[in-house]
């Protein structure tokens, strides 16, 4: 039983790691706080579920989900760069629109996939022990995606994306249209997020229109945990960290559930985790100032305020 729970947790971590990878691309590489994620994750799940129900090959359906997410990213990018609406708001606008769109795609708020063919079931038919099918499938997909992203971020275009997040004025003065670069980055990131949604839907056996809620925070938590585990500026290690972060996050959640936390409380736990991690530098600054004051007092400076 414990082994089963552990394996399910790892499987989830890997399926969700593509979401974390998308969040890593926008928040860390592009320095763009993209909330589209909350809409593109269920978008991927909606597209894959509806397509499968309509009889589309599950692999093709998963690819369609990826493309749909990419388009969502483009829309956020265009709203931000061409209409000059702040990035945060641009993401919220797309995310809100996607809620309606996802319901339209699905036709109702929930589509079960338990009796439908999924990529997991197709691979099962290839004769792999059903115990490991989901794990192996997800690992292969995620490693392939990771390798592609690692390579891409070292290409000329990929380096321009990194530079756009790092110093947009500079890369513009070197001839790069940062608008296109942002749109490209957002598109890739949301494609990955939708792909993650498509995998999760097939894995859990249903798509629900509300499954995007809190995804941005989960993605961020994974990215941050990954950064704590692997501190690096090298892309291949950083993306590995993101995957590991996503797995550790799922393990932490599983442990919390075993400890008796209500599933509905997990979102606030996650949010507090992210607040603490992102707020750590400021908290540390307070502490260092205090230490410094203490140090001065010990040295015999009686009143720090009067010079």
């Amino acid at each position: 039983m414990w082994i089963n729970l552990f394996m399910r947790t790892i499987e989830q971590g890997i399926a969700f790691s593509l979401l974390a990878m998308g969040v890593y691309l926008t928040f860390r590489i592009l320095d763009f706080p993209d909330l589209t994620v909350e809409g593109s994750f269920p978008l991927g799940a909606a597209v894959v579920a509806k397509s499968i129900v309509l009889g589309v090959n599950p692999f093709l359906a998963t690819l369609l989900a990826f493309i749909a997410g990419g388009i969502a990213g483009i829309i956020t990018g265009v709203i931000n760069t061409k209409l000059k609406i702040a990035g945060l708001l641009a993401g919220i606008l797309t995310m809100t629109s996607l809620y309606s769109l996802n319901l339209r795609i699905m036709g109702r708020s929930n589509i079960p996939l338990l009796r439908e063919p999924t990529i997991i079931r197709i691979i099962e038919e290839w004769g792999i022990s059903s115990r490991f099918v989901a794990l192996i499938t997800f690992i292969l997909i995620v490693l392939l995606v990771k390798a592609l992203i690692d390579y891409f971020l070292y290409t000329e275009v990929g380096m321009a994306i990194r530079a756009t997040g790092d110093n947009p004025v500079m890369i513009e003065s070197l001839g790069v249209n940062t608008d296109y670069i942002k749109i490209l980055g957002l598109s890739m990131a949301n494609g990955l997020v939708a792909l993650s949604g498509a995998l999760v839907a097939q894995y859990q056996g249903f798509t629900d229109v509300g499954m995007g809620i809190g995804m941005i925070v989960i993605g961020l938590a994974s990215v941050i945990i990954g950064e704590v585990v692997i501190r690096t500026s090298r892309i291949p290690l950083a993306t590995l960290g993101v995957i590991i972060g996503s797995i550790i996050y799922r393990l932490a959640i599983a442990i919390a559930l075993q400890l008796g936390f209500a599933p509905t409380d997990l979102k606030i736990v996650t949010a507090i985790l992210v607040i603490m991690a992102l707020g750590a530098p400021s908290l540390r600054k307070f502490m260092i100032q205090d230490e410094f004051a203490e140090h001065l007092l010990e040295e015999g400076v009686s009143d720090v305020k009067d010079n």
């Binding site: 000329e156 275009v157 321009a160 110093n167 500079m170 890369i171 003065s173 070197l174 001839g175």
Partner: protein
Amino acid sequence: MLKITNLHKVFNYGKINENYALRGVNLTLSRGDFVTIIGSNGAGKSTLLNVVAGSYLPEIGQVEINGQDVTKWPVNKRAFLVGRVFQDPLKGTAAEMTIEENLALASKRGKRRGLRLGLNQGRRHEYREMLSLLGLGLEDRLEDPVKLLSGGQRQALTLLMATLGDPEILLLDEHTAALDPKTAIQIIEITEKVVEQNNLTVLMVTHDLKQALEMGNRTIMMDRGQIILDIKGKERENTTVQGLLKKFNEKRGHEFTNDRVLLSE
């Protein structure tokens, strides 16, 4: 080479903080000209550079580079013509990326960027040689993120990047002002070296009047959005810093005021 005609630039037109920064600037540079620009606070020196770079669009006037009218071109479109170094050493490089990656970004100046790897052994070798010419030991730190470099090292790297990819014009906006005196001298030496090597046309804003007269082949003085003095050749050789200030007073009837300017001979 560079032809600036009747340039006017106004900020916040019609508002209480309206600022008429350029009032009919005309300037023509030949290939290989190295022009130093001096002037009091708010004279329009940086605005002029920003208009040439494409960061600001002028209200009236024209900027031509190599006979091409680039007035309306955005920064990224004219990047292949213009290299630039800012006063702030942090502005010219991507801090999280490595030295070699920054150089690779610059060597694709204004060119199509594709899905080839940005770096290869050939390029690394090339960059190592380029960096060794700076004499700062950066050639052994190709894989260090730029954020680990000092201000002077970053500015030297920025200078190198500003000349990569064969731009026609180099814009230097008080690029040594944020550095300590010793490093500033180093950067000035490197500037002269890279300008000569690449046969660049240069516009350099400086607050050091002595440097303005010593570097390059031509000096212009700006005040209140206009060029009020333009000297070169014999006339420039015979001009001293005190002479410059005197000329300024004669022309404008008010004192030359710049809170950072160096008046020393």
